[in-house]
Each structure stands twice: as structure tokens, then as C-alpha cells.
């Protein structure tokens, strides 16, 4: 398998494969965090998660167009503005959706599944009507393109590094919010025992809305980040949704740490196998391993132990 390669070539390749795995890991973390928050904390399966991501991507597309036309001097920094906008726009839409639809369906998990799936179709067709069926090209500032040459063979893609930084920041932000803030304390209380939390005066309906909005907002940030590495079209969100569910379910529904551990495991397994096997086979094997582990541990890698 390694015939004909010098050892320095092999070293470089392993270094770059390691990086490829890490960058896949950060993509998974970004995709899955929003879903994990909503699924884990509220028990709602948001099938429209991918479409919220694409809303973030379209926000980035519009912002880039706006900067090109009106503020060309600041184009290099538009991406940060776009991410913030993407977060708030997606969060606002998320809150609206929660108020209109989700809150009426809390005790009917299968219905939320159907309702959010319907929502995803509506959103896809809305994008198609507004932005056209074709994929749009999002222009990136110069500094975000290309690679940092480390050695002759090893190049680190700048956008890969950038996605990693965003994933890390979002993960830390969510951790602080969930475990170091009053809001997080309330969320955890509602998850562990809703009637008791309500009894001590926590507004559980408000918490639900904020949580759903937060999850959608994070999806928006992910969508903005993915304009660098993927396509932006009405149905591009579908490409991410399966992997996202895989990561969340494998990690254990109610555990954010589990989500991160599972994202790491799946991404490393997949990128290592992709190198030795073909792309499709790597995917098949990854799925088989995940199914096998879920058969032994149906609750996922890390399950929250609560008294029911």
C-alpha cells in the first residue's frame, strides 16, 4: 500500500490526513451542535435543520453582495458581519416557528418530525422562488482562499483552519451558556424535571422558545461557515442532515459532550478509512460501526442519567 513513497512523503500525508480528520470534525461539531441542543433539551427532532443552515448561507450570500456594492473597502471583513446576521436571522425565524408550530406539538414527537419536515420542504421551495433554483456562488475575501504552506508537501487550507476556529468558539460559547449562566441552569432544570422546574417558577415555555431559537441560530452560523467549503442552493441543506442526525444520535441525545465525542469518533474513522478505501465504502463501514454500537448502547455514547 505504501510502496514507492518516501518516508517523508508518508509523514506529510499522515499530517495532512490528521488535519483532514480534524477539519471534518469541526464541520460535524458545527452541524450537530444546533440540532443537539434542540433534540437533547426539548426532545424535538428538527428536520428543517439543514434548511436553517442554508438560510445562514443565503444570508452570507446577500451580505457579500451588499458589501461588494456599497462597502467594497470593507469586503475583507464582511464574513464576520454575515455570521452575526446569520445567527440572528435564523434565531428570529426559529423563535417564530416555535411560536407558530412547535409549541403546539410538544407532546407529540412524531408530529413534530412531520411538521418540521413539511417546514423544510416549504423553506426549500421558498429559496427556490426567491433565489432561483440554481446554486449561487458566494464570493470570499482574498485572505480566506488558498493554503498556508507548512512544508513542500503539507498545505493547510485557510478555510479549514477558519472553520475549526468557528467550531471551537461556538462550542465554547455553548458550554459557557449551558453550564455557566443562569439561562443554562434553567434549561438543565427543565430538561431534568419539567413540572418541578415550573413549580419553582421557571418559565418553561420561554426557555423552550429561547432554546429552539438558539439551536436555529447556531445552524445559521454553521451555514455561513459552510459557504466556504460547500454549495449554496435551495436543497444543499439535505447534504448535511443525515450526517448531523448520525452524530447527534450516536453521541447520546441529551449530552452535548456526547455530541462532540461522537463527532470526533465518526470524523476520524471516516477520514482514515476514506484514505485506505473508496469514499462510498468508507461511508458504509462508518455506518455499520455506528449501527453496531447503537445496538449495544441504544442510548448513545454518553447518556444523561436522570431519574424518570
Amino acid at each position: 500500500m505504501f510502496d514507492g513513497y518516501t518516508s517523508s512523503e508518508l509523514m506529510s500525508i499522515f499530517a495532512m490526513q490528521g488535519f483532514a480528520g480534524l477539519s471534518l470534525f469541526s464541520v460535524f461539531v458545527l452541524m450537530a451542535l444546533g440540532l443537539a441542543i434542540i433534540f437533547g433539551q426539548m426532545g424535538v427532532i428538527n428536520m428543517a435543520h439543514g434548511e436553517f443552515m442554508i438560510l445562514g448561507a443565503y444570508t452570507t450570500y446577500l451580505t457579500s453582495g451588499f458589501f461588494q456594492s456599497y462597502l467594497p473597502g470593507l469586503f475583507g471583513g464582511y464574513f464576520f458581519v454575515a455570521m452575526i446576521l446569520a445567527f440572528f436571522i435564523c434565531a428570529a425565524l426559529g423563535a417564530l416557528v416555535e411560536w407558530l408550530m412547535i409549541r403546539h406539538l410538544y407532546h407529540r414527537p412524531l408530529d413534530t418530525l412531520l411538521a418540521t419536515w413539511g417546514l423544510s420542504l416549504i423553506m426549500q421551495q421558498a429559496y427556490r422562488s426567491i433565489f432561483g433554483a440554481r446554486e449561487v456562488g458566494v464570493d470570499l475575501p482574498e485572505w480566506m482562499m488558498g493554503a498556508i504552506p507548512v512544508t513542500d508537501m503539507v498545505d493547510l487550507p485557510i478555510n479549514g483552519v477558519f472553520v475549526m476556529i468557528i467550531a471551537l468558539s461556538v462550542a465554547v460559547g455553548v458550554y459557557l451558556l449551558m453550564y455557566r449562566s443562569g439561562y443554562g441552569k434553567k434549561v438543565r432544570a427543565v430538561v431534568q424535571n419539567r413540572p418541578m422546574a415550573e413549580a419553582v417558577g421557571i418559565n418553561s415555555a420561554g426557555i423552550d422558545r429561547a432554546t429552539f431559537a438558539l439551536g436555529c441560530g447556531i445552524a445559521g452560523i454553521a451555514g455561513a461557515a459552510f459557504t466556504m467549503i460547500g454549495s449554496t442552493g435551495p436543497s444543499s441543506g439535505q447534504a448535511y442532515i443525515v450526517d448531523t442526525f448520525l452524530v447527534v444520535v450516536f453521541g447520546g441525545a441529551q449530552s452535548l459532550i456526547g455530541t462532540i465525542v461522537s463527532a470526533f469518533g465518526i470524523s476520524q474513522a471516516q477520514s482514515t478509512m476514506e484514505f485506505f478505501l473508496s469514499g462510498s465504502m468508507a461511508k458504509v463501514l462508518t455506518l455499520l460501526v455506528v449501527i453496531g454500537i447503537l445496538m449495544i448502547r441504544p442510548e448513545g455514547l454518553m447518556a444523561l442519567k436522570v431519574r424518570r
Binding site: 421551495q125 467549503i229 476514506e274 469514499g279 468508507a282
Partner: protein
């Protein structure tokens, strides 16, 4: 623009098709006996099978996905077909009849294509169907169109291995696209090693099979062959593999959203295609796709197609100008869009040669029908219902257009069942 009425049925009398058919046959034979040849031949004469033809109109069907995941690709084809129909109408129609169309939406769902084909043939009695894009949708249409003896004009370049009496294939089949491009890479670029990369479904797999056979025949080497699921968005591992194997040519048939991810990540990994180390040769990226990928990410890649928007000939200049006038200046025209534009024109030529709208009579006349106003240049229908056409290599430019660097001297013969390549 024509009508977009999707519900109206155009049956003028209340009688069943059987009764009308016999009446028309009778009328037709009377006509022939008296050999009346007016400028506009009578309806009974040109339509003996109960198609939706009146004294001054003929109805055809357009069947593409305008919703769902394939809409992105198929809308260009719809636009081209409507443009061709408008132009034919402006120049006097077909056998003196104006073309009307019924448009149906395949909704990116293969059973829907079959159902809508049935509706177009049985309820609307259309004289021709311009439609389908993916091989899956064509395969869904096939049994229906054969059962009810309709005629489909199919625009996409595809894997071959098919030859239906009820389909005209206006795009290239795999050997036309592939053989010439590999010969070109070997002869002008000195390519010795190839890396085959595609999305995981029938078209890339068949195409790469043909490519591999051809590369073997030339005594050269395939150093990797790899498929990724449709919609795959992470290509870092394969990019590393390519860097390690150092092929002279990456032969790519990645499609859809994966395309965008692949080229963006190649670019980000520090690959500059203008260096041609490795040279990237694709059979799946038209000008349409580049709009989504971004010109800066594909600058320098080569594509093998039969048509590029930048083709420098009078037909094409007229076509591009008319297309932009109809749909806006920012439109781009890819290979399939041009092939879709050929459909109505080839149908018109066949109808006029046969002097009839009858499917069976048209079919007799297909072989040898020529169209010299095609934007791609002269084309001719082969007796296997595919087109003789030239294959061209274009190099992608920063502005998202291709610059044509090579074209075959002769028309390539379509060979849907290539011997020695299966």
C-alpha cells in the same frame, strides 16, 4: 412565450379516439387519392393517429423538474425548449401550424415523470415530448413512452447502453465525450497516469469504465478510481490521495452540490489548476455549474463537451443573443441547455421530412436528418437515434466561461453500445 396551461385538454370533439382515428384514416386516404397538396396540408392528412393537431396548431409536451433538487439543472433546458418553440412559431411553425405546449413538472421524482408522461400522451395527445434530465427519470419514462408510442427528445449527455425507438438522444453518449478527451490529454499534454473520480451512480461508473478501458488500450495507467456518495461534501481525504499518487490527469465526473465542495476544497488545499499539475479533465462541469462553484475555484480546468457558450460561430452568436434577450443578460448556457434547444428543431425537421406528425412516419425519417443551424454547428441524426456531433475541449476562465482549445476534426459517431468497452 407560449401558453403554460397545464390542465387544459385539447380534445375538440367529444368522440373517442378510436372513432376519430378511423374517420381520419378515411379522410386521409381521400386526400391522398385526390393528391391535394396545399401550402398547409390538411389535418387529416398529417395526423392519422389522433394527436393534438388542429388546422393551425400542434401541441407538444415539456416535462422537466421545475421543483425539487433537480430544478437547478433542468430549468435551463425548459428555457431552451421554449425559446426554440417561440422561434419556430415566429418562422411559420411546423407544417403551417403554430406549436403550443403543455408543461408538466416532474418534481425531481422519478415515478412522477412516468405519471406525467402518461398524462401528456393519453390526455393531451401531445405530438412530441421534450424532457427528462437524469438517467433515472428517462428510465422511468421509457416503458410509458414505448407503450403508448410517443417520442421523447432527451437532452442530457448520458452513459449510453440504451437505444429506444421512442427516444431521440440530443446530448452525447459516453464514448463521444470520453474517447476524444482522453486522446487529447495524451497527445497534446503527454498524460501518462490518470485518477478517475466520480459521484457514486450509473453515469460516472459507466463513464469511468469506458475511460479505464481506453486508457488500458493506450498502454497507460490508472493510478486511482474512486466514487463518493451523491451529496458528499468532504473531499479532503481524496485530495490528499491525489497529492500522494501525483497523477498527470484527474478525470472527474462529480455532480451536483458535491461538485462545489470538491472544487472549493481543491482550491483551498493549494491546488492551482492553471499549473496543470495535475491537469483536471471533467465531463460534468458546464457553465451552469460554474455559477455555483465560482470561476476562481475552477480557473484552468478542462471540460470535454460538445458545446460551450463561447463557441465562435454565427449560429451560436445568434442563439446566445436570443437566449439572453429572452431570459436576461446574466444567463449562462451549458452543454445540456444547447442540446435541449436542438430538440424542437430536430422534431420540426423530421415532421417536415415525413410530411406528417405521425410518430411511426417520423421514426422512418430520423436517420440522416441534418440541422445546420445548431449553435454547436452542424449535427446529424444517426440511425441509432443519437447525434453525430463534434467533441470539444474547453478551458475554464476566471469569468466562468470556457475557452475552446480543441475540437475534433470530424463529427464523432455515436456508439451507445461500444464494443470492447463494456
Amino acid at each position: 412565450m407560449g401558453t403554460t396551461d397545464t390542465t387544459a385538454t385539447r380534445r375538440s370533439d367529444g368522440k373517442g379516439p378510436g372513432f376519430r382515428k378511423s374517420l381520419m384514416t378515411l379522410a386521409a386516404s381521400v386526400m391522398l387519392a385526390t393528391s391535394v397538396q396545399a401550402a398547409t396540408p390538411s389535418t387529416a392528412e398529417v395526423n392519422t393517429t389522433g394527436l393534438a393537431v388542429t388546422d393551425d396548431t400542434v401541441t407538444v409536451g415539456i416535462l422537466h423538474s421545475i421543483t425539487g433538487t433537480m430544478a437547478i439543472s433542468e430549468i435551463g433546458s425548459v428555457q431552451a425548449e421554449k425559446l426554440a418553440i417561440d422561434q419556430i412559431n415566429a418562422s411559420g411553425g411546423v407544417l403551417g401550424r403554430q406549436i403550443e405546449f403543455v408543461q408538466e413538472d416532474g418534481a425531481s421524482d422519478w415515478p412522477t415523470f412516468a405519471e406525467k408522461t402518461r398524462k401528456l400522451l393519453r390526455q393531451d395527445n401531445v405530438a412530441a415530448i421534450f424532457g427528462a434530465w437524469t438517467s433515472a427519470s428517462r428510465k422511468a419514462i421509457l416503458p410509458v413512452i414505448e407503450q403508448f408510442n410517443g417520442m421523447l427528445y432527451y437532452p442530457t449527455f448520458y452513459e449510453g447502453l440504451e437505444q429506444s425507438p421512442n427516444v431521440v438522444y440530443t446530448g452525447q453518449e459516453a464514448t463521444q465525450q470520453i474517447l476524444a478527451s482522453i486522446d487529447w490529454a495524451v497527445e497534446t499534454k503527454g498524460a501518462k497516469t490518470f485518477y478517475l473520480l466520480g459521484s457514486d451512480y450509473i453515469w460516472p461508473r459507466t463513464s469511468n469504465k469506458i475511460a479505464r478501458k481506453h486508457i488500458d488500450k493506450l498502454g497507460l495507467k490508472v493510478v486511482g478510481e474512486e466514487y463518493y456518495p451523491l451529496g458528499h461534501t468532504q473531499f479532503n481525504s481524496v485530495i490528499n490521495k491525489i497529492k500522494l499518487r501525483k497523477p498527470d490527469v484527474i478525470f472527474a465526473s462529480v455532480v451536483g452540490g458535491s461538485n462545489v465542495a470538491f472544487y472549493k476544497q481543491m482550491k483551498a488545499a493549494g491546488v492551482d489548476f492553471t499549473d496543470e499539475k495535475p491537469l483536471l479533465l471533467t465531463i460534468s462541469v458546464t457553465e451552469d455549474e460554474i455559477r455555483g462553484i465560482g470561476g476562481e475555484n475552477v480557473e484552468g480546468i478542462y471540460a470535454s463537451m460538445k458545446y460551450f457558450q463561447s463557441l465562435d460561430n454565427a449560429n451560436n452568436k445568434e442563439f446566445v443573443a436570443a437566449f439572453k434577450e429572452a431570459y436576461g443578460d446574466d444567463m449562462v448556457i451549458g452543454d445540456v441547455t444547447q442540446a435541449a434547444y436542438l430538440g424542437p428543431w430536430l422534431w420540426k425537421a423530421a415532421v417536415e421530412k415525413a410530411g406528417s406528425f405521425d410518430i411511426d412516419k417520423i421514426r422512418e425519417e430520423f436517420a440522416g436528418i441534418e440541422f445546420d443551424k445548431a449553435p454547436e454547428g452542424y449535427v446529424r441524426i444517426h440511425e441509432n437515434h443519437h447525434l453525430w456531433s463534434k467533441t470539444r475541449i474547453g478551458q475554464a476562465q476566471l469569468d466562468g466561461q470556457y475557452k475552446v482549445v480543441y475540437e475534433t476534426e470530424e463529427l464523432m459517431e455515436p456508439d451507445p453500445f461500444p464494443k470492447g468497452y463494456q
